[in-house]
C-alpha cells in the first residue's frame, strides 16, 4: 500500500506541463546529438549539467534523463540509414538495420528501431518502478570474480555468434584481442604504470573512449562509403532501390515476429543495466546474440532480419532505466550518464543511495513516472517526426555532401572532449585502421566491445585475485562465475565445430 500511495503522490508531484516540456526538450536534444555521428548524448549531458543547478530538481533531472534516453535510441537512426552508428550501442542494430535499409525498406527498419526502443525502455522503466530493490540485491551479490566471468562470457557471445565460418570466428577472436590491447594502452588504473605508450606522453590517458568509437565506427564507414561513391558512376548513384512503405498490416506482423525477442532483450538489458559498468553496448550485443541463437533460421541475421533490429534496440534502451537501479539503491553510478545524473542529484541536495528511497520517495516515484512518459511521448512526438526527416535526407541528399559534414562532426566531437589535437591524430589513425578491418572482414563491433569492457574485465579480475591472494581458484569456487566461464569457452568451441561441419556439407 505504501508503494501505491508513494506512486500516486509521485505522479501528482511530477505531472505538470513544464515537466513534460522538459522531458521532450531533453529527448529532442538527445535524439539530435545521438543521431549525429561524432557527438555523444553523454557529452551533451555533461555540458547541460551546470545549467541545471538553478532549475527545479525534478525538471532538471527529468530533462537530463530525457536526453540520455533520446541519445541511446537515436544512434540507431544513422546506424540504420548510413551504417554509421551515432553511438556505440547502435553498432549491433546496424548489423541488420543497414541491410534492410539498403533493400529500400528503410522506413520499416527505422520504425522497428523506434518500436523496440520504446517497448524496451518502457519495460525497464516498469521494472525499475516495481523491482529496483531485489535487482539491486542481485547486482550486489555479483562480486569481482562474477563480474569478470560475466564480461568474459559477453565477449565470447559476440565472437561465437557474429561469425558464420571458422575463419570469421578466428577473425572475431583476433578483433577481441585487438580491442583488449587498445584498452590497455595508457596508465595502469591500479598502479599508474605506463603501458604501451612508446614514449608518447599523450597516450598516458589511454585511447579516449569517444575517440576510439568515433574512429572505428563512424570515420571508417565514411572512408568505405567514400570509396564506394568514387568507384560508382554518377548514373548508378541516382538509381536507388525503390522505397517500400510499411503498411498497418506489415507493422503488426513485424511486431508479432519479434515480440518474444523484444521481451527477452528487455529483460536482458534490464539485468545487465543493473550491473554497474556493463552498459548499453554490451546489452545490445548480448541481446542480438541471444536472438540469433534462439532463431530457427539464424542465417537470415546480418541480412536485414527484423529480429536483428528489434532485439539489440530493445536491449540497449532497457539499460537506461536499469542503470538508475545501482544509483538510487546503492549510490553507485553504473555508467557515464548515471555519473552525470549523480551530479545532478547532488547539486539538488540529494545524495543517491539507499536512503533516497526513504527520504525522497515522492521525488523518485515522480521521476520514474516521468521516465515512462519520456519513452512514450518522446517516441511519438519527437522521434517519429525526426525519422521522417532523416529518411528524407537519406533519400534526397547527395551523399557526397553528407560525408564531409560527418567527418567534420567526428573531428569536432573528438576535439571537444579535451581540446587536444593529438586526439584528432588518433582518430585518423583509428579511422584508417577501421577501414582496413572492414576491407579484410575483421569484426569491428567485437573490437569496440572488447575495448569498452577490457578495463572493467582487468579491474575485476585483478581485484578478484587480490581478494583470493593470487589464487585463481576464486573463479571456480563461485558457482556463478564458474558456470559463466564454462559457458563462454563451450560456446566458442561449439560454434567453431558446428560451423565447420556446415561448411563441409555445403
Amino acid at each position: 500500500m505504501d508503494f501505491i500511495s508513494n506512486l500516486m503522490k509521485g505522479i501528482d508531484f511530477a505531472l505538470s506541463f513544464t515537466n513534460i516540456i522538459g522531458i521532450l526538450i531533453g529527448y529532442f536534444i538527445g535524439v539530435v546529438v545521438g543521431a549525429t555521428p561524432g557527438l555523444m548524448a553523454t557529452t551533451a549531458m555533461v555540458l547541460m549539467l551546470p545549467f541545471t543547478f538553478t532549475l527545479d530538481p525534478l525538471f532538471a533531472i527529468a530533462t537530463l534523463m530525457g536526453c540520455y534516453k533520446g541519445g541511446v535510441y537515436a544512434g540507431s537512426i544513422t546506424g540504420t540509414l548510413f551504417n554509421i552508428p551515432g553511438t556505440p550501442e547502435a553498432a549491433a542494430t546496424a548489423l541488420d538495420g543497414y541491410p534492410m535499409g539498403q533493400r529500400g525498406e528503410e522506413l520499416r527498419a527505422l520504425e522497428i528501431d523506434l518500436f523496440a526502443s520504446v517497448i524496451g525502455g518502457t519495460f525497464s522503466n516498469l521494472l525499475l518502478l516495481f523491482t529496483a530493490a531485489p535487482l539491486a540485491f542481485i547486482a550486489l551479490k555479483l562480486g569481482p570474480p562474477e563480474v569478470a566471468a560475466l564480461i568474459f562470457f559477453s565477449l565470447t557471445v559476440v565472437v561465437s555468434l557474429m561469425g558464420d565460418t571458422p575463419l570469421e570466428i578466428w577473425k572475431g577472436l583476433v578483433s577481441v584481442g585487438g580491442g583488449l590491447f587498445i584498452g590497455m594502452i595508457g596508465l595502469d588504473a591500479m598502479t599508474t604504470t605506463r603501458r604501451y605508450g612508446f614514449g608518447i606522453v599523450e597516450l598516458d590517458k589511454g585511447i579516449g573512449f569517444i575517440t576510439c568509437i568515433i574512429g572505428l565506427l563512424a570515420l571508417s564507414e565514411v572512408l568505405v562509403q567514400a570509396e564506394a561513391i568514387t568507384s560508382l558512376k554518377l548514373s548508378d548513384r541516382r538509381s536507388r532501390v525503390p522505397s517500400k512503405k510499411p503498411t498497418f498490416r506489415s507493422r503488426i506482423n513485424d511486431l508479432k515476429v519479434c515480440a518474444v525477442d523484444i521481451l527477452r532483450s528487455s529483460l536482458l538489458g534490464s539485468l545487465l543495466g543493473a550491473l554497474p559498468g556493463i552498459g548499453a553496448t554490451t546489452a545490445a550485443f548480448v541481446s542480438y546474440g541471444e536472438a540469433k541463437r534462439a532463431a530457427k533460421n539464424p542465417e537470415n541475421f546480418g541480412k536485414g532480419d527484423v529480429r536483428g533490429i528489434a532485439a539489440p534496440e530493445a536491449g540497449n534502451n532497457a539499460v537506461c532505466a536499469a542503470s538508475l537501479i545501482p544509483l538510487v539503491t546503492l549510490g553507485i553510478p553504473g555508467s557515464v550518464a548515471a555519473a552525470v545524473l549523480f551530479g545532478a542529484f547532488m547539486v539538488q541536495g540529494m545524495i543517491p543511495g539507499p536512503m533516497l528511497m526513504i527520504t525522497h520517495a515522492e521525488f523518485l516515484y515522480g521521476l520514474f513516472f516521468l521516465m515512462i512518459l519520456t519513452d512514450i511521448l518522446g517516441g511519438a512526438l519527437v522521434a517519429y517526426p525526426i525519422i521522417r526527416v532523416a529518411r528524407y535526407i537519406f533519400r534526397r541528399v547527395d551523399y557526397s555532401l553528407l560525408f564531409p559534414i560527418v567527418t567534420v562532426f567526428c573531428a569536432v566531437g573528438v576535439y571537444a572532449v579535451d581540446f587536444s589535437i593529438f586526439d584528432i591524430k588518433v582518430l585518423l589513425f583509428l579511422g584508417v585502421l577501421g577501414y582496413l578491418m572492414k576491407k579484410t572482414n575483421f569484426n569491428i563491433p567485437a573490437l569496440v566491445l572488447a575495448f569498452i569492457l577490457g578495463p572493467i574485465l582487468e579491474r575485476n579480475m585483478r581485484t578478484a585475485l587480490l581478494i583470493s591472494q593470487g589464487n585463481p581458484a576464486i573463479f571456480i569456487k563461485s558457482p556463478v562465475a564458474a558456470a559463466l566461464l564454462i559457458l563462454g569457452v563451450v560456446s566458442v568451441i561449439l560454434s567453431l565445430k558446428r560451423k565447420k561441419r556446415k561448411v563441409i556439407t555445403i
Binding site: 599508474t192 590517458k205 549510490g331 553507485i332 551530479g343 533516497l356 547527395d398 555532401l401 587480490l466 581478494i467
Partner: protein, 323 residues
C-alpha cells in the same frame, strides 16, 4: 539538389557560430567554462563535496564549472592528467593528499607533485572502519582479536593501494602484529558496496560516501581513524582513545597544472573560499554530508602537504612500502 546543399551548409555554419558564441570576447579571467577533474569516483566524498561547492564557485566566477570524474589508481591517473594540461587556468584538479605526498614515495610517477600550483583545500577527510551490519564483530577489539587468530583471512576494501586508508590499516596491522590484506576498489562507494555484498570483510572509508548505506542500516562502524569523533557515528571511539599513537589524515584540495599564472590561482582560491563560507554549504556539510569544512588557502595547503609528506613517508618506511 543544390538548394539542399546550401541549406545543409547553412545549418553547419549556424552550429559553428552557436558554438563560438560561448567563447565570447576576451575579458577578465575566467571568460569560458572551467573544467574540474575529480580524481576519485562519482559518489565518493571528494566527488560529493566538489559538486556541493561547484554551484557557488560558479556564482563567484561567473562561468560554469564542468566537473568530470577520472578515477583510477587512487587519483594518480587524474593528477597525471592535470599535470599534462595547458596551464591557462581552465583546467584544475580536485585531488586527495596521497596523490601529492604518498604515491611519489612508493613508486615512480609520471608527474612531480611538488611542481603543481596549489589552489586551496576546503576540508580534511574523516575516516571510519565499517563492517556489514550482520557481521560477527561489534567492537574494534573483537575485530582485532579475530584478525589475530585468523591470519591472512580478513580482507578490507580501500579506494586504492597507497591511499591513507590503506596505509592506516597496514600501520595498525604492524602495531598489532596482524596479517590482513587490502583490496583496492575504484573508490569508496565501490568499496562499501563490496562490504555489503560480502566480497570483503571491512572497509576503511571517508564519511560522506558511507552516509546513505549507514543510515539505511546496511553497515556498522567499528572505529574512527581520524583525530576526533565524527557526528555521523557519535558513539564510535577513535584510535587515539583506544590508545594508539596514530590518526589518519588527508585532505581534499584543488591543484592547477605547473606554471599556471597567479591571477588564475588566486581567483580560484577565492571562489573556493567564497563557496566554503556560504551558510547553505556549511549547513549541508554538517547535517547531510557529515564533513567539517575547514578552508586552507594555497600557502597553508602547500605547508600541510609538506608536513604530511614526512609523516606518511615515515609510515611508508615502517610498513615497508617505501620505494
Amino acid at each position: 539538389m543544390k538548394r539542399k546543399g546550401i541549406i545543409v551548409a547553412g545549418l553547419c555554419l549556424l552550429l559553428i557560430i552557436v558554438g563560438l558564441a560561448g567563447i565570447g570576447i576576451a575579458k577578465e579571467y575566467p571568460t569560458k567554462p572551467i573544467k574540474g577533474i575529480i580524481s576519485l569516483s562519482a559518489g565518493g566524498t571528494t566527488d560529493i563535496v566538489a559538486r556541493t561547492l561547484a554551484p557557488y564557485m560558479e556564482k563567484y566566477l561567473g562561468q560554469p564549472v564542468v566537473l568530470i570524474n577520472e578515477p583510477g589508481a587512487n587519483g594518480t591517473i587524474a593528477v597525471a592528467d592535470v599535470a599534462r594540461r595547458k596551464p591557462d587556468g581552465y583546467v584544475f584538479g580536485w585531488c586527495n593528499l596521497p596523490t601529492l605526498v604518498i604515491h611519489s614515495q612508493m613508486r615512480d610517477l609520471p608527474y612531480d607533485p611538488k611542481k603543481f600550483v596549489y589552489v586551496a583545500s576546503p576540508m580534511p577527510y574523516e575516516y571510519i572502519v565499517f563492517v556489514r551490519s550482520d557481521a560477527q564483530w561489534n567492537t574494534w577489539e573483537e575485530f582485532i582479536d579475530y584478525a589475530k587468530k585468523h591470519p591472512r583471512m580478513i580482507t578490507y576494501g580501500v579506494p586504492g593501494l597507497g591511499s591513507t586508508n590503506h596505509l592506516a590499516m597496514e600501520y595498525i596491522a604492524m602495531k598489532e602484529g596482524i596479517e590482513w590484506h587490502a583490496v583496492p576498489f575504484k573508490g569508496n562507494p565501490e568499496s562499501i558496496a563490496a562490504v555489503i555484498g560480502g566480497h570483503v570483510d571491512a572497509c576503511n572509508t571517508s564519511t560522506t560516501a558511507a552516509v546513505s548505506a549507514y543510515q539505511a542500516g546496511k553497515i556498522k562502524p567499528l572505529i574512527v581513524l581520524s583525530k576526533k569523533r565524527i557526528s555521523l557515528v557519535p558513539n564510535t571511539p577513535t584510535l587515539l582513545e583506544k590508545g594508539y599513537d596514530f590518526y589518519q589524515f588527508s585532505c581534499m584540495g584543488a591543484i592547477l597544472p605547473p606554471g599556471t599564472p597567479e591571477y588564475a590561482r588566486s581567483k580560484l582560491e577565492k571562489a573556493i573560499e567564497y563557496a566554503c563560507n556560504v551558510p547553505e554549504v556549511k549547513e549541508r556539510a554538517k547535517k547531510t554530508l557529515f564533513v567539517t569544512i575547514d578552508f586552507k588557502n594555497g600557502a597553508e595547503y602547500r605547508e600541510l602537504a609538506e608536513k604530511y609528506y614526512k609523516v606518511w613517508g615515515d609510515i611508508l618506511r615502517q610498513v615497508g612500502l617505501h620505494k
